[in-house]
Symmetry: D2
Subunit: 478 residues, 4 copies
């Protein structure tokens, strides 16, 4: 196959072709390269470099390629990269006119364009998926607003908490991730075309026109920076790594809650898998795989960053490896969120078990200390007194509420009959009456506010969607 | 030393104290813990939990601690952490009243507060340093606006470029990093106090009041999320990692430019170091160290992320390691930028060497191809023809401009006398006349626009500075 | 302070000194640098470069430095590195004769020597610590040989297992780590001195003599490789990372076993810490910190590897950062193993809880399937039949052993009365009678074999100890 | 498709199948799973669990599968994993008898077996490739024994060195990597079968017999450890990461040497690629890709390690991700070494350029200092004097050898006429006459010793090859 640079070099061995070819990876950019090329030829025409009939033929040729795509097995082709494939296939289709499409651009800016178009789409895809995840979490929270569970710190029972409050803690995490993605979108949304190999195009193309038709918010300000920059990729992978780490924590919780010992939740059979040897097993494989995949993402982030350690300015072929990393990271993240949403839809909480779990572990101890404080003790003294009460209970196999008032008075004069009420599980929940606390009305309000967030997100998404263009829409300009 | 939780446990061995103590690290949060504690007691008073005279005594005690700080050798103290140190020292100073300061908060939300106060300050510090770096780059660019150098891709000479254009490519990189830091600031600027151990405070403190006096833009919405969240730390480290990687690329360029073979730049003796055995060496150690330190940052980012892989919800002691990572990352980044700025001030470009470097390497080849295109060839054909010209020159040890027009005509009929002018170095620069290109007027405009960016940054910084508060200012509320 | 290379450069700013100084880190190599220097001067004398009286004075001077070390606050000195400190302090002590110690070596080979001497010692230290850990595990195993617990896969109950068998699974893991350390020792045990700056010493020193007195097993074969090589550091950090990851898994198990829900173990109060707000908590902080520190090690490994990505040949100043990484990694690993051993000494298993845990979760299901196989069913059919039995039990809230033989016969004709015995917990243990299985006699034998391993290790350690030399022993040559 | 565990669970949604299926990855283990299964059925027969005719039919069925493999498009099958594929396809072929093959094993020990068989082969493959690389380096060294080049530290000219000596520095690096691979082989060479799900097989199979026919050096000692262990994978990836980092350093050198400014080497056109826009470029893309791929390996190492951070004991589904990481790492490493060998075969050194490069940069300065030392100066004084000479030369644009003896005497009385000879490039090489130094006879001896290493390696490889068995050989037992 003809290389784009065959004039200078005399021969290239097969093994070199295989080693340096990126087609098996960047074929995924086919549509984006086609769209970018179409915009580029519009721009060449706009600047008087292409005549109207040349533009017409090339646009038509690109449209044909686009239509034939389904029949393509891109792997079967023996090109160096997706750019070469399109250029050569176009030549087969429309002849020498095709040779003009490489005027005023270089693969160095072209590949940035393809990647940015891909990522803008990919971000919107992930934002929508996170939207669905947030909705699922809100719904599950609303459905379980009456359930109470132990909150844990150090995997030790800490205090009673509404199941809804627990679930909504992940709503906040994924909302942060979503804000990161929106920030990434802005940083990605910069037109690279015109940067050419590294010093800027030698043709006076109109970058404002290009920016407008490709719907970028801005054009890059320095050609050398633009062809050497892949921050938009590492930023995106960083955001996805965060999503995956948050999923890994959620998964860890659910794996533990799914153990026989905890039994806080049920996961539908359809979202568990069995053992090849132990017939009784109901393994939370999906959650384990997600947990593992978060490690893959951390490694992907690592990879893209290391490539740039000490890399000299502008383009170096090292940067070609960015795409494998990007696509791997994206696919793992996308499929993990997707299946996690469905799994969450298939999780139910075991009310009886949760209720029993609140009975032991001295989960009301903090509230007992708060009781003393409200009676006038300093928190430090109260903390010590309750510590002694707990030690006494442990030594005598009792719970705090089993102790009689006389017994309690031995620890502090401040204890009175009203304490039993104030350390009931319901009181423990009720008393966390601050913004962000687990008090039921507070949690209900947070569910309301989540709904508003989701409504706002709806608008955000539809405005993002107006900021991308695909091949068919672009063709309509014509 | 008294532990904050000594009621329950019977004994703690020394080795455990040493292993679990974080004082040697978190002593650095002394001021921030003091400030946070002061705000907290204002809030306790505001909610009626502390009486006026209690507030007065505690505030006075904290002020004393703050004043004695310089005399402190915080290492000498044998406390579990900075929170215990302050609480215990305060008790020594003002007696039992001090015990009330832990009411309505937990170390779980307190440490988040301290870290966020630290990071808000740290971000402002880095933003200012980046401002100075951007100014240094702009100045060096402006000073060298007339110099031309070869631009490289694949460490191979590519095309002529203004030294200014080259330098400004890093302006763009650090500007992106700066935008990341500003985004981090917003994500960090959320009040944690009130979250308590994990389910929210059991006292009706006014988080709006706290938010106002501590100058946070918002309060956290879910207590469980807030005590389990360290995204603001990994985000910050991610941004710093990017800064360091950009510095590593700049350093790599300068190390190469500083080699005898390139000799593009001089670095003042004061910014080089010598060899213990080779008297002639003038080693760019600072640049090499910065390059290495970028590896440290990638590792730090890795560390903070891995800690959270599969970590169960809310607070786990694993999170204590966040501070070592954060402080290491910050110190390395800060000192690297700081010294890089000074080094850059001590770099000069060797005009003669640069001029000579433009003579070989066929750096005008792209423009020769563009010449043919402007004469009507397709870019592909032009590219091939010029490739053959280059091969011919290599075989005959000539430069393109050494070839006579007759010789050139053998490669293409389109070559005519005007080509010599169009492939002069000046024309190569001139012809990159697109926004973002190396054409001199374009670069001058980009320097103007950089000045505007810097003016806008001035305002941004002063608005950020109004969004932090220190102990002394907070005390004035009183 | 005089720099070792002050002839060439005219000035060095303070900030440069601070940024490039490594003394705060490499002061830790004081003894090793002293020892290496002593060996070096012996060698210079041996080759006729130093006269007997010069050797005597220098050796004496070094001895004095060594004795004054305790009085040293090495931080207080303002030297570039530990090599400069020793050379300059020696000069203060014995005058100009000291200047000869740098003949025939460079800091490039000197620092490798120091690091290798340190690491040889450090490996022996870790090997001894692992020995102690292995002993602790064996002892705990032997003490609990009669206890049975559920083994878990996917955090789901799998099959009954001896607590000893479970514990000995970690014996194997740490034994692998130990083998890695021994391999590291051999790879580190190569004399660098004589490599000088990078092309070999220009003096005909006798490297065999040096090798002998410094007790290296071999001398490096290529000077350029030797000064550019830090594989011995990354190898060592890799081994330590493995130790820490194994500890993190052991810790994770123990954290889960320590939860109220599992309650399989008790950890002495002295190895837990409390909560500042929740008086009932008994948090496994040490285990959580170890888990987090394993993340630090992965990051350290990452750092040392990234430094070498794309680093040009021989020495570059980037390599100076190796020591921070090495010492951090070593200190974290050493202290983690040390405290883990003590903690393990303070863990006890709750027999009652374990016994109860074996009653549910259908832990005997595999053995029931094996029962059917032994009666002639294929394993696949048996697996399916038992799956149905388990589903029936779940639907009817029964355990397998609660089912009557008539009920069971509905699932398979092969079930007969003898099945109850064959699925008793004791039978489940008994039946795993393969080498490496949990059958009690097999486990007892494995404890025997562990003892042999430990006896062999004793010998290994004492042979390693003969392969290092310290300053005082070296001085005796004199 | 029938799952291996379908008795217990009621339904599995398609998306779950897709997410949890590993067939697209582990199909690569087809041969190994087949071989392992054949050994397993031999063992079942050996222990009396399978009858002779059952064994015969199953072995025959497996042989058929093995023969049909080329026709297989394993992707087309809709199985959970390679184990299920083989079991089900075998059933289609020989009917219900196939169901017995899962007796006495679990996928938990089966997958370890497959991986270990794969890795033993893979290590031998890499060892052979490294052998070829070492030979190529030796040959290139021998061919260039007469050439001298500048050695660099800090990318600054340091001292003259034989090109051979420079090249052989990489011989040492890859030899270290090779020793690591041999160590990995031993650690991998442990039979897992018999460990079953985690507590050992419930059937008295003879693990010694299995070990012998599968040619493992030992059997695993603890079933719980064995199914939870993947150290053999991370060890292998660590070794490959080292190879790649060494290649990245070699590549970096060659990229720099290939720049116009250095021009030390030529790389054949067939191993360079061109630019799509700049016709003159001859880009070292292969070397850049290798440099980038070293970053991928560091990330792969990171991934496999992170998966195990805090992972509970024995098997968790997280471990399934090990294979993607392993195969990626192996493929990148294998193809990188392979092409690097060919590229090295196509590198030649430019003698003229090297000779010129030795003339400047004061590369003889160390030898000038050594000259003074041999005349009786201390090294420190000599170093300072030569520093002044260099400064003088720089100020007067001279080389040292241009200075007259009178001028030199102004710097030191010790300078005499014989100095010119002693600082000639040949003398500089000659004087490094220590083991490991660049003296020509020393380097020639090192080439001899390299030949011996390679002969020894030949034997090592043939002994390794006897320690693996493939399906066809195993079948011959029958």
């Amino acid at each position: 196959m003809a290389k784009l640079w065959e004039g200078r070099l005399t021969d290239t061995e097969k093994i070199v072709d295989v080693f340096t070819s990126s087609l098996s990876i960047d074929k995924r950019l086919f549509y984006y390269d086609l769209t970018g090329t179409l915009a580029h030829v519009f721009s060449l025409h706009n600047s008087g470099i292409l005549k109207a009939d040349e533009l017409k033929d090339i646009a038509h040729g690109l449209k044909e390629l686009r239509e034939h795509f389904v029949e393509f097995d891109l792997n079967a082709y023996d090109y160096e990269d997706i750019h070469s494939l399109i250029e050569n296939e176009l030549k087969d289709s429309i002849g020498d006119k095709s040779e003009k499409i490489h005027t005023a651009r270089s693969r160095n800016d072209q590949v940035v364009l393809d990647e940015k178009l891909f990522i803008k789409d990919a971000i919107i895809g992930l934002v929508k998926l996170l939207q669905s995840l947030l909705e699922t979490i809100s719904k599950l929270s609303a459905d379980n607003i009456r359930l109470i569970m132990p909150a844990y710190t150090h995997l030790q029972k800490a205090q009673p908490v509404l199941v809804s409050h627990y679930l909504m803690s992940f709503f906040e995490k994924f909302l942060r991730d979503l804000r990161k993605l929106l920030f990434n979108f802005e940083e990605t949304d910069i037109l690279p075309l015109g940067s050419a190999a590294c010093t800027g195009s030698g043709y006076e193309i109109d970058r404002d026109y290009l920016k407008k038709i490709l719907r970028f918010r801005d054009a890059s300000k320095n050609s050398m920076d633009e062809v050497s920059n892949r921050d938009y990729i590492s930023d995106f992978i960083y955001s996805m790594t965060n999503i995956m780490l948050h999923l890994s924590r959620f998964s860890e919780d659910l794996i533990i809650f799914n153990s026989t010992e905890f039994s806080f939740i049920n996961i539908s059979d359809s979202f568990c898998t069995g053992s090849s040897i132990m017939p009784q097993k109901k393994n939370p494989d999906i959650l384990e795989l997600i947990r593992a995949k978060s490690s893959l993402l951390v490694g992907n982030l690592n990879q893209i960053l290391i490539i740039f350690k000490g890399l000299p300015s502008t383009y170096n072929r090292d940067m070609q490896e960015d795409k494998t990393i990007l696509f791997n990271a994206y696919d793992q993240t996308y499929s993990s969120i997707e299946i996690f949403i469905k799994l969450l839809d298939n999780v139910s909480f075991n009310q009886d078990v949760l209720n029993k779990a609140l009975l032991n572990g001295f989960i009301e101890a903090t509230d007992l200390a708060d009781y003393l404080v409200k009676k006038g003790q300093s928190f430090r003294s109260a903390h010590k007194i309750v510590g002694k009460v707990v030690r006494y209970c442990l030594g005598n196999s009792k719970n705090i509420c089993d102790l009689k008032i006389e017994d309690l008075k031995k620890f502090s004069e401040f204890f009175e009959e009203d304490l039993y009420k104030s350390i009931s599980i319901d009181s423990c929940i009720e008393s966390k009456n601050v913004f962000g606390g687990t008090n039921k009305r507070r949690v209900e309000k947070s569910l309301e506010s989540a709904k508003e967030e989701l409504r706002a997100l709806e608008k955000t998404i539809s405005s993002l969607e107006k900021r991308v263009i695909d091949f068919d829409d672009l063709l309509k300009i014509f």
